[in-house]
Amino acid sequence: MQKKRIRWQSIAPYLFVAPFIISFLVFSLYPFINAVIMSFQQVNGFSDTQWVGLANYRQLFNDGDFYAALWNVLRYTFWTILILIPLPMLVAYIMNQKGLPMKGFFRSVYFVPVLTSSVIAGLIFKYAFSSEKTGVFNEWISHLGIAPVDWLNSSGTAMFALIVIAVWRWLGTNMIYFLSGLQGISPELYESASMDGANGFQKFWYITIPLLKPITIYVLTISIMAGFSMFNESYVYWGAQSPNNVGTTLVTLIYKAAFTNGNFGYSCTLGVALFAIVVVVNIIQTRVMGLFKDEG
């Protein structure tokens, strides 16, 4: 009789990833599937649910707030990407220069905003964007002879206020990503380029940018996700209701449907819609950037 031996060697890897897999199944996949199910239901407590078919989705397509929120997050994502990729790349490039004095100090300065809570930062920016002439930003523009602006109550300036806080906050993080990418580029490339007579700009353009592509794709992907799911800053600025929806985001609507309206089914519908939108955008983005294509 031969005892069947357990082959520990082959099982071990699965065991090591098990905690992650289990927590993913329990805390991510299960709620996700449930959310999809609930998006077809009217939920009044877990014991009191009703199938309503596509009613929630019909409501979604007729919901003016949804389109307003979608337009807001599209603009927000567009601007954050437009600023938060080139700018941190440039900052990282400068930070990576040999012989830059106080490198450590500057790197920390750029990174510190990331460590503050977005709610606290939001509050401070809210006061800075006060409509009063004593507000920080109104004070600044008063030196240019511009009258006080009611920043948070009109569409363009409200978006500006959201972008400012995003740039302030995420510049440092993205800089770190690019910095780590830069450190992986071999200095020999730059040396040989110098020998061939390339100037600083040419080196940046022909060596740095192409070799940072993987990092750029990563930053772009997380920026799209972060942009579409932005909530904290908007909530601190306006709470759940912003005048004429100037600051409403998709997550604001999800939050509002669930917690100020008690409509969990519709909340899940919005969540599923957000998921679908982000997936589609990311697929387009990866296609355009040529990711997942066979190398060579």
């Binding site: 520990w8 009044n44 407590g45 009191d48 709470g239 005048p243």
Partner: protein, 437 residues
Amino acid sequence: MKKNFGKKIGLVLLTALTTIGLAACGNGGSSSSNKTADGKTKMTMWTFVDAQGTFFKNAAKSWNKTHKQKIDLTVNVLPFDQMNQKLTVALQSGSGAPDIADVELGQGAIQLKADKPAYYPLNSALKPYMNNLVKSRLDNFKKNGNYYGLDYHVGTTVTYYNTDIMKAAGVDYTKIKTWDDYEKAGEQVKAKTGKWMNEVEYSAMFQYDAMVTQQHADYIKNDKATLTNAANVRVLTQLQNWIYKDKIARTAVGGSIDNDQFFAEMNKGNVASVTMPSWYMERIADHMPKLKGKIAIAPMPVFNEGDYRSAGGGGTGTMVTNQASNKKLAAKFVVWAKASKGQAVKIWEDLGFDPVRSDIWSEPVMKEDNKYTRYFGKDIFDTFVQLKSQVTSTTKTAKISPDLNDYMLKNTFPSTLLKDKMTPKAALQKANDALNK
């Protein structure tokens, strides 16, 4: 062999850790026994105001001195949003909720939207006190004939005048009886001092509510919006005129009268008056130290004769959840903690609220020295007592309430008050159509 053994140990540990980790998640809510070793019934309470938590802790101590069934109360104070999210989720999922919870009126509307609210009715516990309680405050938490919460306060709405500004402008605020008088006084204030008579909220609606309900009117009937009635149009027109026609007011700094930026504005002496519920005394006393002794409390001006000179505003009900271990005892305790005579006095002394038990309002104990009598003078309740029978509220707990609130703050106020883009009538018509769709 030895190597294998080490791996087996590793596997066992890993499995154990995972199991423990998962088990810990499922074990949050109810405790195994609901009595302490010395026989007290364990209860937990969630609230979002520190002082209210302390108030209930002390109430439990007093209760234990005089009652047979003793209570061991644990109070958790959580931030407002977080508490409501947790509570909503706990009630929806059927486990993890506290025995007792403080629920703010606006949140209460959401919690009571369900056909079968996840709370225990306080009716029988309220019975002995019923005659002495201000009824409109109970109605805020009423559903299908059941009272699900008992408020801390009545929120008697009054007009607070900055007496320095009034003097400088030569206005006798006691002579302001109607909103017309108020507007004229405002013009005088603006002309003589350059200060604003008022600042108008657009991200909250306390003053709007008070001015609607004082006309014996409402904006919801049978769960339908009735925003187009004359009373609502009158109020919104009045508020818009103050800003854009008479220019005696501007939109409130920070959107409401109840936020830090506005407190600073008022503290600096830039605003001559505000109309707010009684609990605004706390905001004034705590955030506007410069105005000590300079704020007068007077009944609200009216539109027409016969209008109420006050209203009820805001509110937080203490509710017993249907997950409470001993619902009956919890209900009795909650009601006692607010409606018994000694406790009602404590609500004034400790929290600075006008208690829902109003027969004590005219008792001498209400004039005793405390933070508020020192700030506003000893006769605060002399004004409140006159207004006692005039405290009504707009409907806040209908199914449509959260939507109506949302729509007004998002669309109607921004397009009529924040900007002068629509006439009040058109804006209210639009809101009404959208809500009754």
